[in-house]
């Protein structure tokens, strides 16, 4: 007999989604760590969703964990990702009647997301973004992207390099050529 969850796959009803999230599946990081996550929350990842749909919920719940082999899916990154999807799985959808609301949401991160993504460990931040991109969790990729944008905005090139801990690998001639092309943009540099 099929698991109840199979009957309700694809149903968008809020109660059904809540019920589904009580079902736990296991996700395995590239470092070998295994972590539990609610089914609805995990399906915010299109990669996981497709795996669940092709394998069937029964198989995913009762058998081996889903392996996330990309090297960006470290233990720490996967734990952060599970924290994010477990918080956001029941978000209301954007109301398309309010175009400016969509714009506003595009512009700003919620207080929770700001605190979530504002991590001291920059390597973890980029792992989370790369892993979210690999797992196809659009909302989380956006949160990471907006956070980095907020750090870059208004900074000079040197300040961007210092903030992101990267080096300038241009020769003086190359840098000069780029500068000349859009000189008015580099007033701060």
């Amino acid at each position: 007999m099929a698991d109840n969850a199979d009957h309700i796959d694809g149903d968008d009803n809020e109660d059904v989604r809540a019920q589904q999230n009580l079902i736990k599946i296991k996700l395995k990081s590239s470092e070998g760590g295994i972590y539990e996550c609610g089914l609805t929350a995990a399906k915010m990842s299109d990669l996981v969703k497709n795996m669940v749909e092709s394998l069937g919920t029964d198989a995913v719940v009762t058998t081996e964990p889903i392996i996330l082999g990309n090297e960006a899916v470290t233990d720490a990154a996967l734990k952060k990702i599970i924290e994010w999807v477990e918080f956001h799985w029941d978000d209301p959808p954007v109301d398309h009647d309010f175009e400016d609301e969509k714009d506003r949401r595009n512009e700003e991160l919620s207080h929770w997301d700001k605190q979530f993504i504002d991590v001291d460990d920059q390597a973890l931040l980029f792992d989370v973004i790369a892993a979210a991109n690999y797992m196809d969790i659009k909302g989380l990729v956006e949160v990471g992207a907006k956070h980095i944008c907020s750090k870059i905005r208004g900074k000079s090139c040197q300040e961007v390099r210092e903030m992101l801990k990267i080096t300038n690998d241009f020769t003086a001639e190359e840098e000069d050529a780029i500068h000349k092309e859009n000189a008015w943009i580099y007033a701060k540099d």
Binding site: E71, A72, T74, D95, D97, F98, E101, N106, Q122, A123, L124, F126, D127, I129, A130, N133, V141, E142, G144, A145, K146, I148, C149, I152, R153, G154, S156, C157, V160, R161, L164, K165, I166, T167, N168, D169, F170, E175, I178, H179, E181, N182, W184, I185, Y186, D189
Partner: protein, 435 residues
């Protein structure tokens, strides 16, 4: 120490030097390790100015940004990109900046110029040939939104037609009627055509040449009352199948027939925006009732500018009732009045006694006649709490703006806010009755 151990240590040290691992040998991810898709996601939320600025960060940034810019499909050219260039205290359009920005983005489909005072002022004074830049670099332009550009003459307009004959959306300010003819005949696939901020005389007859796909037309301000010929021009061609029409017009006593014609002939119209300047002197209770023929309308915006001297308002309840009874598909309704007219100096003892506006007589029936309303905006009309009660029963209402409605009471508004829980967005401005 064996040779192998030494080489392992050297290997770890080299990774530490490069920053790819930390002192404990743990992998360290940098922004430059992100794949193209993740990095482009970041660029998407940066202003175009910051994107261009970051080209000089390092080679990875330059390579990724140039690929991103090459794939961009739309851009809004703004004052920051244009740089702060002044001449005699005026903002100057920076042709070199524009050309270099556009050159990096050859696949732009939608090109907009920021609608801010600085950009408008720099476009209004420039001699730089913007069209020439566009035709030099862009290959797939579908939409161009450019207003009050001095350099856009008939010659460059012809060049635009020649290079981008498949343009679908166009906003342009033009200053002679021939330009309208060039556009209407030249862009056969035009769907959206806005003559915003254009200064034109009688150009209506050229509108009959608009192509089969035209669905939206925004008319130039009607300074010299050519609105009848404009409507005739549209109706004589594909304009009769318009789905959206936006006009700013003066309304005279004789215009009853104009609204009648519009109501009878524009059968496909879904959205109508009319901004009136009333020149009416006769009190006619049915001026707008002809619009009630537009039974497919889903969006209606009626706005009256401030009325001066002894002119009559275009708004009145009988027409509004007629529209409400017949345009039952309306989902969005804006009724904006400019407010009661000011006294003239020679009219000190004769205040605005003949001003009429919309009242509860029509709008208190909104819940029964227009139950599909989702967006409602009301300004400076004479409604009371009675209409507010009716609005409360609009169960599909999502956004409501109440502006300068002196007839509403504090208690009425308080009760409304408690009960109208279906509303997601409510703006109440200057609405308290202090009597």
């Amino acid at each position: 120490m064996s040779g192998n151990s030494l080489s392992d240590i050297m290997d770890v040290l080299s990774h530490i030097m490069k920053g790819s691992v930390d002192l404990l040998g743990r992998r360290q991810t940098h922004i430059t390790d992100l794949d193209e898709h993740s990095f482009h996601h970041i660029l998407q939320y940066l202003s175009l100015f910051d994107v261009f600025l970051c080209r000089k960060v390092n080679k990875y940034f330059l390579r990724q940004i140039d690929a991103y810019l090459e794939n961009c499909r739309q851009m809004t050219y703004n004052c920051k990109l244009n740089g702060d260039h002044f001449f005699n205290g005026e903002h100057v359009f920076n042709g070199r900046a524009f050309d270099s920005v556009v050159a990096r983005m050859p696949n732009i489909r939608v090109m907009r110029f920021k609608r801010c005072p600085k950009m408008r002022s720099s476009l209004a004074t420039t001699n730089y040939n913007i069209v020439s830049s566009l035709t030099n670099h862009l290959i797939m332009l579908n939409e161009l939104h450019l207003t009050r550009c001095r350099s856009l003459d008939t010659k460059s307009l012809k060049l635009l037609v020649e290079w981008f004959p498949n343009l679908t959306h166009l906003t342009l300010s033009v200053y002679n009627e021939t330009s309208v003819e060039i556009i209407a005949k030249g862009f056969a696939n035009l769907k959206y055509f806005s003559l915003e901020d254009s200064v034109l005389e009688d150009y209506g007859n050229h509108l009959q040449h608009l192509g089969l796909k035209i669905h939206t037309f925004v008319a130039a301000v009607d300074h010299n009352n050519h609105k009848n010929s404009l409507i005739t021009g549209l109706l004589n061609g594909n304009g009769r199948y318009l789905r959206a029409l936006d006009m700013r017009i003066k309304v005279f006593d004789s215009d009853y027939t104009l609204f009648n014609t519009m109501g009878t002939e524009f059968n496909d119209l879904l959205s109508l925006k009319l901004v009136f300047q009333s020149k009416r002197t006769v009190d006619d209770n049915q001026m707008l009732s002809g619009l009630s023929g537009l039974s497919s309308l889903t969006h209606l915006h009626l706005e009256e500018n401030r009325i001066y001297s002894n002119f009559q308002s275009v708004f009145e309840d009988n027409s509004m009732l007629s529209i409400m009874r017949n345009c039952r598909q309306l989902e969005s309704l804006s009724l904006i009045s400019g407010g009661k007219h000011a006294q003239t100096s020679s009219d000190d003892n004769n205040t605005a006694t003949n001003f009429r506006s919309l009242t509860d007589a029509s709008l208190s029936m909104i819940d029964q006649l227009l139950p599909n309303i989702r967006h409602l905006s009301l300004k400076s009309i004479d409604i009371t709490d009675r209409t507010l009660s009716s609005i409360e029963r609009l169960y599909k209402l999502k956004s409501l703006r109440l502006d300068s409605l002196a007839g509403l009471t504090f208690d009425g508004l308080q009760e409304f806010m408690t009960n109208a829980t279906q509303i997601n967005r409510l703006e109440v401005i200057n609405c308290l009755n202090h009597k």
